[in-house]
């Protein structure tokens, strides 16, 4: 009955993309926020961004929605809207203060994630993007389990070039395979830095073992793109602005836009293939 309830609620969601890593601090939330902004640039598309990082919800700040509260209506919880076609949900909106620590064990976190999926009135959604915390634990198992009632197009896995990150990301790729979650591809963040003054390129996080490129080759996974470091990215996140619109000329923006397009194409193709089968 619970599965039926979830299926009903998620019926109006056309595409679902999970943003995962395994490693913390590689840019999952940053990427999720920009993916949401990028997709919502098409005003005909309805985009939903769900933040299931219960301990460290970054999405409210990144979307400029700090201090917003969740309202209840007859049809459920209302997402907080950044644009008319971009709605957001996060535990961040349920806290009385942004510094409140959510010190919950697994079962309680799972309960909230289920509520987010069951009780939020997203309406008709073209793209549901789910931002996750680092690791391969309760939140990840639960979201895959609960979304099996609907359908997940696939996962985008974020990493940085260093082996210490790739180590954790390989585990995440194995997690995806274990739970039969398709992998749309890998994004390599913080991939080089071009000095705005002298234009020299440096590797701040050197790919000592070949970076994401080598890992993707070895594991037969798509490399969606590499995004260079740009100090404006962090600034835009802190200010709750979309980096894509704040710095349209940045090489990082170009990378992000290419990656977003590839994800869109994957989802659309996926959809066509499914319709063919049906």
């Amino acid at each position: 009955a619970e599965a039926a309830e979830l299926r009903e609620r998620l019926r109006a969601v056309r595409h679902t993309v999970l943003v995962l890593s395994g490693k913390g601090g590689v840019g999952k939330s940053t990427f999720s926020a920009l993916l949401a902004h990028g997709l919502a640039a098409d005003e005909t598309k309805q985009v939903a961004l769900l933040d299931i990082d219960i301990c460290g919800p970054s999405i409210p700040k990144m979307m400029g929605l700090e201090g917003e509260q969740v309202h209840q209506s007859g049809s459920g919880w209302s997402p907080v809207y950044v644009e008319e076609n971009l709605g957001v949900m996060s535990v961040g909106f349920l806290l009385s203060s942004p510094d409140d620590a959510v010190i919950w064990r697994g079962p309680k976190k799972n309960g909230l994630i289920k509520q987010f999926l069951r009780d939020v009135d997203w309406g008709e959604v073209d793209y549901l993007i789910v931002d996750t915390p680092p690791g391969t634990s309760d939140e990840h198992l639960s979201i895959v389990q609960y979304l099996s009632a609907s359908r997940i197009d696939g996962a985008v896995i974020v990493t940085t070039p260093q082996e210490v990150s790739l180590q954790d990301v390989r585990k995440e790729i194995n997690f995806c395979r274990k739970v039969k979650l398709p992998i749309i591809g890998v994004v390599e963040n913080m991939s080089g830095f071009v000095c705005p003054k002298c234009k020299n390129e440096s590797q701040i996080f050197p790919p000592t073992t070949g970076g994401a490129e080598k890992m993707c080759q070895n594991l037969n996974v798509s490399l969606l793109g590499k995004v260079p470091l740009d100090p404006q990215i962090g600034k835009s996140c802190d200010r709750g602005q979309s980096f894509l619109t704040e710095a349209p000329e940045s090489p990082a923006t170009l990378s992000y836009r290419n990656i977003i397009q590839r994800i869109q194409e994957y989802c659309e193709q996926h959809h066509l293939q499914e319709e063919k089968i049906m």
């Binding site: 490693k23 601090g25 620590a101 690791g135 391969t136 309760d138 198992l141 954790d168 390989r170």
Partner: protein, 161 residues
């Protein structure tokens, strides 16, 4: 039990390295702190309770090590130039390094409790405990399990943003 009393009884100071945020350098700092303390002549141990993303073994170049048991429990892996830093990490228990530890809270809690009480640390001046990001099962269980012992305090790591 007698084992519980002896395994951490010889540890003078326990330091937790925490953040909340991932990727800020907790494991890096834990490693450097251990090496620096060792350089200063202290007896040091590192406990890596990041079950999903154990980084310490690679940082100390012992990612291919195996662990053994003795009468009082797990024998930590000895690392560092003079093999004088004792390290315990779940990284050592994985059959393949790319295996994901996909466990829910209760199973993680059971392992952490074991890690804290069943490692034969011997006499240490400092035990540094590296944690994963967040404020969840691992953190609650680690603090609960360490409470009866000499918990010096926590170092919090962040980046400027």
């Amino acid at each position: 039990t007698p084992a519980e009393r002896t395994n951490l009884a010889g540890v003078q100071h326990i330091v937790l390295v925490l953040s909340g945020k991932g990727g800020v350098g907790k494991s890096t700092l834990s490693t450097e702190l251990a090496l620096a303390l060792r350089n200063a002549g202290k007896r040091v141990g590192i406990l890596d309770v990041d079950l999903c993303g154990p980084s310490i073994p690679r940082m100390l170049r012992v990612q291919d090590s195996a662990v053994h048991q003795c009468d009082s429990g797990w024998v930590p892996v000895c690392v560092g130039q003079d093999k004088a830093i004792a390290l315990m990490s779940i990284g050592f228990l994985l059959e393949r390094p790319d295996d994901a530890v996909v466990w829910r809270g209760p199973k993680k809690n059971a392992l952490i409790k074991q890690f804290v009480t069943d490692v034969a640390w011997g006499d240490l001046d400092f035990l540094i405990v590296d944690t994963p990001p967040g404020t969840s099962d691992e953190h609650i269980s680690t603090v609960e399990a360490l409470r009866p012992y000499q918990l010096l305090g926590a170092i919090l790591v962040t980046t400027p943003q």
